[in-house]
């Protein structure tokens, strides 16, 4: 047996009985095929609910009444193919979970990978993980689909043609040998690397080359933070932020709950610090200054909408106010602060000062000057050592934008002999990407490790595709003296090879006799005996002993105020580029789940857009969906066209555009969505999803800036409709339709202020939405729910709307992707949606945002059940609203009669013809056919599994044994599922909270899902929202 086959974490591939995809299987001793292949993948590909041919023939044969009957009444044969040699620890039909580390972004959250019959089908958060603490964001959830991406390269390429590893290795080592000798210029371009082993292997590799240099590049770089710390603390570190310890949090354009550095960890910490009635009680104050509406801004107690220039001024003002209190100098050039709410900033400074050592100020800017001021503020507030830790930080390289620009110059001058590219795509991501593309080929040898053909990798002579991270070994430095481990959870699908193995192989001249090292060996070598290997792999992380890093004391002389940024001239708008929660820098452009995840703020799918304020739109005569031309002031070439979106809460002088769109990968969605006469394409006019805004990035002051430039905006005469899942945005009904005396605000989402809640311990009365403990029934109570009674409580205070639950639910329950047109027709299939409402705040132009996850409420008096003619939906003995797909005839009466509108109808047969992507389907869940209603089941498959396991063990189901996919993934822990009949269960305790209410209680449908009202840390008078 080869060295890998004896390890338990290897699983075999499923070999498809239809043979329509042939997966190259590396020479392994056994070709093991699980018994289930007849059943499970079929579930994905066969429409399970149709009348089978055999049935038809049987019926027809009988009707024609003759001998043909004997020939045709039998089934098309279903095969059952067993293993040749049964691997231990694999039982077909049973899921196994392996701990690993998510590599979908740099954060390195802990994973539990669910593996069924040899394939990874679901990623879950690892609750024991020291950083992510059990949550997993939408991007991480969706990254499992990357495994089954048919665009992945399936073998090495040499000049665009399929090659063997031996051939490629031979050719590359030959050339590298020559370069080692003549000291050629070799450039290795990677992303910011946080894997110690990868760093070590790279060092090892580069050692042999005299003229070698490692260049790192990230679009969403944290370089400014690291460089600022270099300046102020003589340490190039990315600090650990402890949001849970902070009582006052101030964010300056840092979307730490959405996209900034490590949103899952930060959300967990932030939520932990905001508990109105869950022990331990604590409730931080959170103010956010930002130029666009971010997830973080939506959750802030006070959101201040500013231009990028005002942002800098505000920081200066805050810094000088604090400096005054601390008695340290902070010189601010006299700048115009008239447009700022100076009183508020002064008050904020007082709050911060009062809570010094327990406060936290974060800044998301790419500008070193701003980060230096941020460091100064935190230093003045004595936050270093308490809420900010720079002693045990993640060993993470920082990507300096300067380096990539000088690499470009080198390439252009033709002085680079060899360019080795990791999975980076500067051609797409750089503003001058086309120059880069043109210059690549000037390098003598171009090798790429990209797992697919990108605009960058297509220029490579050799492509040595890396494994997907779920197929390979790895590690990641997490900070806090933790290291996360990544292990392969299934055998590589394709003939790919870990980058670690490739680089290690090329580290020696071809003549040197060294044993081939697997990626596993390389990772083990890094850690040796410093970690207990088996435990570390089992847990997915390990604690290491490391000396605290020491830098110099705070260097006050490095601090200077942020230079007053350029003013926005009249008629122009300040540009803000930002990463979207799902798409980030475009790395997820091939993932349909993430494209169809509604943006937490705008609820738009499948597009990016230019967000402008309502006043600006009125002034310019622009409406949502009008295509506008955005021109960067300095050059008319730097212009993009994309649809406009009128965004409440946006600053009037700002236009915000998401990066990561218009990616060439998105061209694959050309045929996405059901085919029918009036179908409209998912792709825009450019043949892509959205428009690439990277052109508008500006390289300034040594780094690429996402914001601050002035742009001209101009209306074109085209329209491009934006697919939004929510038409009506306000929680208040239109005033024109108001009957005098009628409550304008609907009490779906209840909110209160911390002050009021602390005083009353309960919610304010909202007209009809008074607490209806038991309205009573007209009929006898025939259904007492004596066993379990499943229920759910969702805390709106901690819910950020990040949509991890939405994607998690979609993956767990085989929810189809329907495409832009269908979403625009309001036929999105998500079982769990997050309702987003705006409501008036203290300032008219700065509305509050409210997020409310809504799934099937599993009403005990379910209106949907009563109206179903065929009992396709009925109530279970444990309070579940059950939907039986195969009984459904599709009258849609249930959906009409659902007051929450959570039911989803299969309007078409949604395509499941990507056989490879079908491998990510959950085999425990039916793939629904056309004409059938579906909806959230409270993940009944998990309930049933827990029940069966408990029965087998003879034990009752314990609280927490069952965690639906949404709860499992929630970084904030906002969703709690459990038995409402068990007074000790977590959900029962939440139901007793004074904040608990049920949506539309007054219609007495008795939902099993309850909500905990949104609490904002405000004084009562501060909140203008209606209280009845």
């Amino acid at each position: 047996m080869s060295e890998v086959s004896s390890k338990k974490y290897w699983k075999s591939l499923t070999k498809r009985s239809d043979g329509s995809i042939s997966l190259p299987i590396a020479g392994d001793e056994f070709q093991s095929v699980p018994e289930t292949i007849g059943a499970d993948p079929e579930r994905a590909s066969v429409q399970p609910l149709e009348v089978r041919r055999r049935d038809f023939l049987a019926a027809a044969g009988f009707a024609f009444g003759s001998v043909t009957l004997s020939g045709c009444s039998r089934a098309p044969v279903e095969k059952a193919i067993p293993y040749l040699v049964a691997p231990e620890a694999i039982i077909p039909g049973r899921a196994t979970y392996y701990a690993s580390t998510c590599r979908a972004c740099k954060a390195g959250c802990g994973l539990l990978v669910k593996n069924r019959d040899g394939r990874a089908i679901k990623l879950e958060g690892n609750a024991e993980h020291p950083v992510s603490r059990g949550g997993l964001c939408a991007v991480g959830q969706a990254s499992v689909l990357g495994l089954y991406d048919s665009n992945r390269l399936q073998h090495p390429l040499q000049e665009g043609k399929q090659a063997t590893w031996d051939a490629v290795d031979g050719a590359i080592t030959r050339q590298l040998d020559a370069m080692r000798e003549n000291g050629a210029t070799l450039r290795l371009l990677t992303g910011a690397i946080s894997s110690p082993t990868k760093q070590r292997v790279i060092q090892e590799f580069l050692k042999g080359f005299a003229g070698a240099k490692h260049v790192t590049y990230e679009t969403l770089s944290t370089a400014a933070i690291q460089n600022a710390h270099e300046k102020t603390h003589s340490q190039s570190v990315l600090p650990n932020y402890a949001f849970e310890k902070a009582t006052v949090i101030v964010g300056f354009d840092a979307d730490f709950l959405g996209t900034w550095i490590s949103p899952v960890a930060f959300t967990a910490g932030w939520a932990k610090g905001r508990r109105a009635d869950i022990d331990p009680k604590s409730f931080s104050y959170h103010a956010q200054f930002e130029s666009r509406f971010s997830v973080t801004g939506g959750k802030a107690d006070r959101r201040v909408s500013v231009t990028p220039a005002q942002l800098a001024q505000s920081m200066n003002l805050l810094a000088s106010a604090l400096a005054k209190k601390a008695g340290v100098p902070f010189a601010v050039e006299s700048s115009d602060t008239a447009s700022l709410d100076t009183d508020f900033i002064e008050g904020l400074a007082a709050k911060l000062w009062h809570e010094r050592g327990r406060s936290l100020v974060v800044c998301g800017s790419q500008d070193i000057d701003a980060q230096v001021v941020c460091n100064f503020i935190n230093h003045t507030l004595e936050n270093y050592g308490t809420t900010i830790d720079i002693t045990h930080t993640a060993a993470r390289q920082h990507a300096n934008d300067e380096d990539i620009q000088s690499l470009l110059r080198e390439l252009q001058s033709g002085s680079v002999d060899a360019l080795i590219l990791d999975n980076v795509d500067p051609v797409y991501g750089l503003p001058n990407g086309q120059d880069f593309a043109a210059a690549i080929s000037k390098a003598g040898l171009v090798v790429s490790f990209a797992d697919r053909l990108t605009e960058t990798s297509e220029h490579a002579t050799y492509i040595c595709p890396d494994h997907h991270y779920l197929e390979s070994w790895g590690d990641v430095s997490l900070g806090h003296s933790f290291v996360g481990f990544q292990q392969p959870v299934m055998r590589p699908l394709f003939n790919t090879r870990s980058i670690l193995e490739s680089l290690s192989k090329w580290s020696h001249s071809s003549s040197a006799i060294v044993s081939k090292k697997s990626d596993q060996t390389l990772v083990r070598e890094t850690w040796g005996t410093s970690v207990e290997w088996n435990k570390a792999i089992h847990d997915g992380f390990a604690k290491i002993s490391e000396k605290p890093a020491t830098g110099s004391a705070f260097r006050a002389n490095a601090v200077k105020a942020i230079p007053t940024p350029q003013e926005t001239p009249g008629g122009k708008l300040a540009l803000v580029l930002y990463p979207k929660v799902a798409m980030l820098d475009g790395r997820n452009a091939s993932n349909p789940w993430l494209h169809e995840m509604p943006d937490p703020i705008t609820k738009i799918v499948w597009d990016n857009y230019a967000s402008i304020a309502e006043a600006t739109a009125t002034r310019l005569g622009i409406e949502t969906s009008d295509v506008v031309k955005i021109t960067l002031s300095e050059s008319s070439e730097k212009a993009i066209e994309l649809p406009a979106l009128v965004q409440p809460g946006q600053h009037e002088e700002v236009v915000a555009i998401a990066l990561g769109y218009g990616h060439p990968e998105s061209a694959r969605f050309e045929k996405l969505g059901p085919e029918w006469l009036e179908k409209k394409p998912t792709l825009g006019d450019n043949g892509l999803v959205g428009t690439n805004a990277a052109k508008l990035l500006t390289y300034r002051n040594g780094s690429l800036h996402l914001s601050g430039e002035n742009v001209a905006i101009e209306k074109t005469h085209r329209k491009h409709s934006l697919a939004c899942t929510q038409d009506y945005h306000n929680i208040e009904i239109p005033a024109a339709l108001l009957v005098p005396g009628m409550d304008q605000r609907r009490p779906m989402v209840q909110e209160t202020t911390l002050a009021a809640y602390e005083r009353d311990g309960k919610l304010p009365q909202h007209g009809h939405a008074a607490h209806h403990d038991d309205l009573g029934d007209l009929w006898p109570k025939d259904h007492p729910y004596e066993g379990h009674h499943w229920g759910m409580a969702i805390d709106l205070t901690s819910c950020t709307g990040c949509s991890a639950c939405v994607v998690s639910c979609q993956i767990e329950n085989n929810v189809p992707v329907v495409g832009r047109d269908e979403v625009e027709r309001k036929r999105i299939m998500h079982w769990l949606r997050i309702d987003r409402y705006y409501s008036d705040s203290e300032k008219e132009d700065q509305p509050d945002i409210l997020h409310q996850p809504v799934m099937c409420q599993h009403c005990d008096n379910a209106p949907c059940e009563t109206v179903c003619p065929v009992i396709a939906t009925a109530h279970g003995d444990e309070g579940l609203n059950m939907q039986t797909y195969n009984r459904c005839v599709g009258t849609r009466y249930c959906a009409n009669n659902c007051p929450y509108k959570v039911r989803r109808f299969n309007w078409f047969d949604y395509a499941h013809d990507d056989k490879l992507a079908n491998m990510a389907l959950n085999p425990d869940i039916t793939v629904r056919t056309r004409g059938v209603m579906e909806k959230c089941s409270f993940c009944v498959q998990r309930i049933e599994e827990a029940r069966i396991e408990a029965k087998k063990k003879g034990l009752p189901i314990a609280d927490g044994d069952i965690r639906p996919a949404c709860q499992q993934s929630c970084p904030a822990g906002s969703i709690v599922f459990g038995d409402m009949n068990d007074p000790e269960s977590a959900v029962s305790k939440l139901i007793k909270s004074g904040r608990h209410y049920r949506m539309l209680e007054e219609i007495n449908v008795k939902p099993s899902v309850g909500y905990l009202a949104l609490v904002r840390n405000r004084e009562e008078g501060e909140d203008k929202s209606h209280h009845g």
């Binding site: 009957l69 067993p82 293993y83 040699v85 077909p92 059950m882 039986t884 089941s937 029965k951």
Partner: protein
């Protein structure tokens, strides 16, 4: 030559015979008619004529020796070919012919020849084993494609372990497999059949032990 009258008479007779034959066939097959989806009595020919009667009936091998998934998983599982080899690496033919050869060899004072039954040879071929039970070079093993006998539609979730761990006997659903040369689907495996068993055991229990067999739709359909 037939006259015209004769001709039509002949046609009538043929038609009549045809009609009677069809009717007779129809009536004969009526008993075997199942409503669509019911495959009671299905007994497909398997690639290897494995006899459950011999293994389970005569040799009294426990069901779960081969179908070990039944205790732990939703699938009972088809045994891996390696499980067959636990015995059949030694037992290469029927006991009778092996013994006969042994005796013959003793009589003729020679080493017993290797006896391999036609059916068992298929296992060795699948595993690409030579006479020495060594892997044949250059040949890769191929799994045996058995034909599933008990097919539930994909819309129903059935978990073997939930039933086996509650001491539901295998025969309850699969019939007396130990008497079957070739396995046949004994029960109709209809929803009503499942539901009625669930109803019954809720009243009388399984083997005297009270059980809680769910009648919820979502116990099987999701």
């Amino acid at each position: 030559m037939l006259t015209r009258d004769n001709k039509s008479q002949t046609v009538m007779v043929v038609l009549l015979i045809g009609a009677v034959f069809s009717l007779a066939t129809l009536v004969a097959r009526l008993g075997a008619f199942h409503i669509p989806g019911n495959h009671q009595g299905y007994a497909p020919e398997q690639p290897i004529a494995f006899s459950h009667r011999l293994h389970a009936g005569e040799l009294l091998i426990d069901c779960k020796y081969c179908h070990h998934g039944a205790e732990t998983s939703r699938h009972a599982g088809i045994p891996a070919t390696s499980v067959c080899m636990n015995c059949h690496s030694i037992v290469t033919d029927t006991l009778g012919s092996l013994r006969a050869e042994d005796e013959l060899a003793k009589e003729e004072n020679r080493k017993a020849r290797r006896m391999v039954s036609k059916e068992l040879q298929k296992i060795y071929d699948a595993l690409a084993l030579d006479e020495e039970m060594k892997q044949k070079p250059g040949q890769s093993p191929e799994p045996i494609e058995w034909i599933k006998v008990h097919n539930l539609p994909d819309l129903v979730y059935f978990n073997h372990s939930a039933h086996v761990s509650m001491d539901v006997a295998c025969e309850r659903c699969h019939g007396a497999v130990e008497t079957m040369e070739r396995v046949r689907q004994v029960e109709d495996l209809s929803m009503g059949w499942c539901v009625n068993c669930h109803r019954t055991v809720n009243e009388i229990g399984v083997a005297g032990t009270p059980v809680d067999a769910s009648l919820d739709c979502a116990a099987c359909h999701y």
